[in-house]
């Protein structure tokens, strides 16, 4: 359908236009207009698809197929040149190899080895693609609206950084277009192009501030993602030669139909694509790029590194999961995912920088989703899809909120958010909603854990059961202590902080919060209406993942969790409570903030959370984790590749 094509091309064209406009007010207006058009387009796209019966649609683009294929090839070569130039400019020569080798390999394959009689289906639209389009369209556009206001405040504050907002927004829009292309593509060569494009967009955005740290971190992100791209290229070429097709779904179907030893070669491209997904989804050992990406301005963290780009890796793994179930690839993927889930949540406990906590929690949640994909059962994919939806909304909400808070209080350390509820009430309440959505019962995360636990037991995946049990304990620790920080009584009598959050930032935040609450309240409905059909398409069978009794309990619990505090609040309002000073052994100065020291002078109270950074900090744990996970991947990949040859 042309709308699909429009979704891919329009943002890219808009990005180029935006690059040329240097006047802020006009560019902002065009940005708003474009986001509204994109959101409307996504809405209309979904509507028409649902109206046509929500069927799987495999579309070709007719006579221009070959021309578009050639265009994509040329674009990929241009990309390779751009990356090489940048690598040489910043003297990171070896990284250019990671771009040149796979691109030339793909080019050679496409020009000489490709099967001309291959199918010309280019777009594949089903429940999962529509879901991804919705996530990218709605959340991505909201973040762009947020970014307009945020970047204004950002440059106002950081005067030392060159104002290249036209460039920033160009890349944001380019990225949106590439994501649409990525999730709608059926042809593996197209997928490879859009994959590389998202890697390069991420690279360019991280290096936006052009400080030395930013440049180093951006190159680290680049080489890790390009390494994944290499694996992807090798997988595509191998599959293309052996199966004489580059259709993504043929790969998946062949993977599901492995019956005897001669079919085992299919596992190799699947394993390599899974490896590429690891780099994109920042699993251990490839997590450091995501941590380093936090130096970029907040909208890029929100868009790329939590809500959308990393979901590209998850999307690929979800697509592959029916083929991975019960195989060595599934074992590799589920272990890396589960281990990442647990290890990243342990390190997150030790972080006090708000964005770092969010980064590690992103890695952790992605780990759980990856593990769900690796197990490959309908129940885990059900859990994974919900995790993905909830995580996208709440993580982008939290990143935006932390960014807005940083603009107001000039710090993003969680310790400085002590008593935020009394200083910046709106932002604090939204932050509270976001964090609650991440882990409290009965919201999405929790029911996903329920389902994932059940499925892991069914699949006899013992390690994953342990990872989920221990990881869930550590996860609730670092989220709850952050929530406690926000509502805790404020100890300093600082003058009121000025809430300088711009209107458009607030709009985005509030829409996110409303979406979050609505989803929490209505997700049993969502499960019945949408996700079940998604699973039906993927697995071909329809088992009721969530038994009816659980659904009813869930609805009851949701109602209680919303109603009980509400009614308790109303009831307690009527009670005449006598307010006492907090207990400080009788030496409370009288304002709950200070106590009398031994000289008789008032001394400030300062309460901090536990971080344990000497025991479980990043510095201590990162190295052993990376060694361990690298060893696991190397061992399993070698086993898979050797059995394939």
């Amino acid at each position: 359908m042309t709308l699909g094509f429009f979704l891919i091309c329009f943002p890219i064209i808009m990005s180029l236009i935006i690059f040329c406009i240097r006047v802020n007010k006009i560019r902002n207006f065009i940005a708003y207009l474009s986001t509204i058009i994109i959101m409307a387009a996504v809405g209309v796209f979904t509507f028409f698809w649902v109206k046509n019966g929500s069927q799987i649609m495999q579309l070709s683009i007719g006579e221009i197929t070959e021309a578009v294929d050639k265009l994509i090839l040329i674009a990929e070569l241009i990309l390779m040149v751009v990356v090489t130039i940048l690598c040489f400019k910043y003297k990171k020569y070896w990284i250019s190899l990671l771009s040149i080798v796979p691109t030339l390999l793909i080019a050679y394959f496409e020009l000489f080895l490709k099967n001309e009689a291959d199918t010309d289906i280019r777009l594949y639209i089903d429940h999962l693609s529509i879901l991804m389009c919705l996530i990218v369209g709605v959340i991505g556009c909201l973040i762009v609206i947020y970014a307009v206001g945020y970047m204004h405040g950002y440059h106002h504050h950081h005067i030392d950084i060159e104002d290249r907002r036209y460039y920033f927004f160009m890349i944001l829009f380019m990225f949106l277009g590439c994501m649409f292309g990525f999730v709608l593509s059926e042809n593996l060569l197209w997928i490879d192009f859009f994959w590389e494009m998202t890697s390069v967009c991420s690279f360019l955005l991280i290096g936006y501030t052009k400080t030395e740290e930013a440049i180093n971190n951006s190159f680290r992100a680049l080489w890790m993602n390009l390494l994944g791209g290499c694996a992807l290229a090798v997988a595509i070429v191998y599959f293309g030669i052996k199966a004489q097709t580059v259709s993504f779904h043929s790969l998946i179907i062949m993977g599901q139909r492995i019956s005897d030893h001669s079919d085992m070669w299919v596992l190799m491209p699947i394993a390599l694509i899974a490896f590429a997904a690891f780099t994109k989804a920042a699993q251990f050992p490839f997590s450091t790029w995501l941590i380093g990406a936090m130096v970029a301005p907040t909208p890029s963290s929100a868009l790329l590194h939590s809500a959308t780009m990393v979901k590209a890796g998850i999307y690929i793994l979800f697509r592959l999961s029916p083929a991975m179930a019960g195989t060595r690839v599934g074992l590799m993927v589920s272990f890396i995912g589960g281990f990442t889930f647990f290890a990243a949540s342990v390190i997150a406990i030790a972080q006090s920088d708000g964005k770092k906590v969010l980064a590690f929690s992103t890695i952790s949640n992605l780990g759980l989703m990856v593990a769900c994909a690796g197990v490959g059962r309908a129940e885990t994919i059900w859990a994974g899809v919900f995790l993905m939806i909830f995580h996208a909304i709440s993580k982008s909400l939290l990143f935006q909120d932390v960014g807005a808070t940083e603009n107001s209080i000039h710090s993003r350390d969680v310790e400085d958010m002590h008593g935020l509820l009394y200083r910046l009430p709106r932002l604090a309440i939204i932050m509270f909603i976001g964090i609650a959505g991440m882990f409290l019962a009965p919201f999405g995360m929790l029911i996903s854990k329920w389902s994932a636990l059940k499925a892991s037991v069914d699949e006899s995946n013992i390690l994953l059961v342990f990872f989920i049990c221990f990881g869930s304990a550590t996860t609730s620790f670092y989220w709850t202590k952050w929530m406690g920080k926000i509502i805790s009584h404020e100890h300093t009598d600082e003058e009121k902080v000025r809430d300088i959050t711009k209107k458009n930032e607030l709009i985005s935040l509030i829409v996110h919060a409303i979406l979050m609450i609505t989803l929490c309240a209505f997700f049993p409905l969502l499960s019945k209406l949408y996700v079940d059909s998604l699973l039906m398409e993927m697995f071909g069978t329809y088992e009721d993942v969530l038994p009816i009794s659980i659904l009813y309990i869930l609805v009851a619990i949701i109602i209680f969790v919303f109603a009980i505090p509400f009614f308790a609040y109303i009831a307690s309002k009527k009670m005449k409570t006598n307010i006492k000073l907090s207990y400080m052994n009788g030496i409370n100065v009288g304002n709950n903030n200070e106590f009398v020291n031994s000289f008789g002078d008032p001394k400030q109270v300062w309460m901090s959370n536990y971080y344990f950074h000497k025991k479980i900090g990043q510095r201590k744990l990162m190295m052993p984790i990376q060694v361990f996970t690298t060893a696991w991947i190397v061992v399993l990949l070698s086993m898979i590749i050797s059995s394939a040859i």
Binding site: F470, T480, I487, I557, I564, T577, I579, N592
Partner: protein, 287 residues
Amino acid sequence: MKAIICSLCYVIFAPLIGGLLDGLDRKISARMQGRVGPPLLQPFYDLNKLHNKQLIAVSKSQTFLMISYLLMMILTGALFYAGYDILMCFFVMSTASTFLYFAAIVTGSPYSTIGASRELIQMMAYEPAVLLACVGFYLCMGTFDVAKIINSVVSPIVYLPGFFIAFVFILTIKLRKSPFDISTSHHAHQELIKGLTTEFGAKNLALFQLTEWYEVTFLCGVVGLFIINSNPISIIGAIAVVFVVWFLEILIDNCSARVKFDLMLKISWIVTLLSAGVNLLILMINR
């Protein structure tokens, strides 16, 4: 229908059972220490007195958070005794504990905050064992539903001894008994005055006490769940085992000193991993 009756019985009788168990606890501890001890109904007198005091708080939000804590805990027990999904019950209980944490930390008082942080560490220490116990039930019974688990032919403990040990181990943490009573303790003022409950006066403390009784009844129910099978006589066996476990907790409480939180975390996780883990492994292999 039966489910609703059971839940109602729980809602009405759990405070009585919890209070009696609490009184028995104090009496037995006193006798172990060579004293006479308070009367058996002392916890009810305490609750009555707290109820009759002037309503105080440090922060206005404390009361509604404590009421929410109480109601969520009642919901947990009600779900359990109605025979529903045990994993969901524990998830709801973790939400209830979060409300308790909020009620303590919203005051910003030093003792309360440290007690609350330690409470979080306690939650982190016991959660794996609790989740693994549910997994154990699922493995051997094929379902999370309590109503179906109690109808099994063989008592679950035959298959789940390791899970039982892990669960009883972390019961020490949940019941706030030495050596794991790091966040708040039943005894006279310790290193953190009253830790988590420092800023709870009168009514709020009464709510806390009441919720503890509901929680105790729920946890004892879970311990009994390991023993109950379709034979009605097993109920007597379950009650006996619950009393034995309860006595063991009191004994450990009186014999040990409090440990630091990192030791508590390490020990509980190691015990969970070893006993529940090995049990899980054996069950999975024999499937």
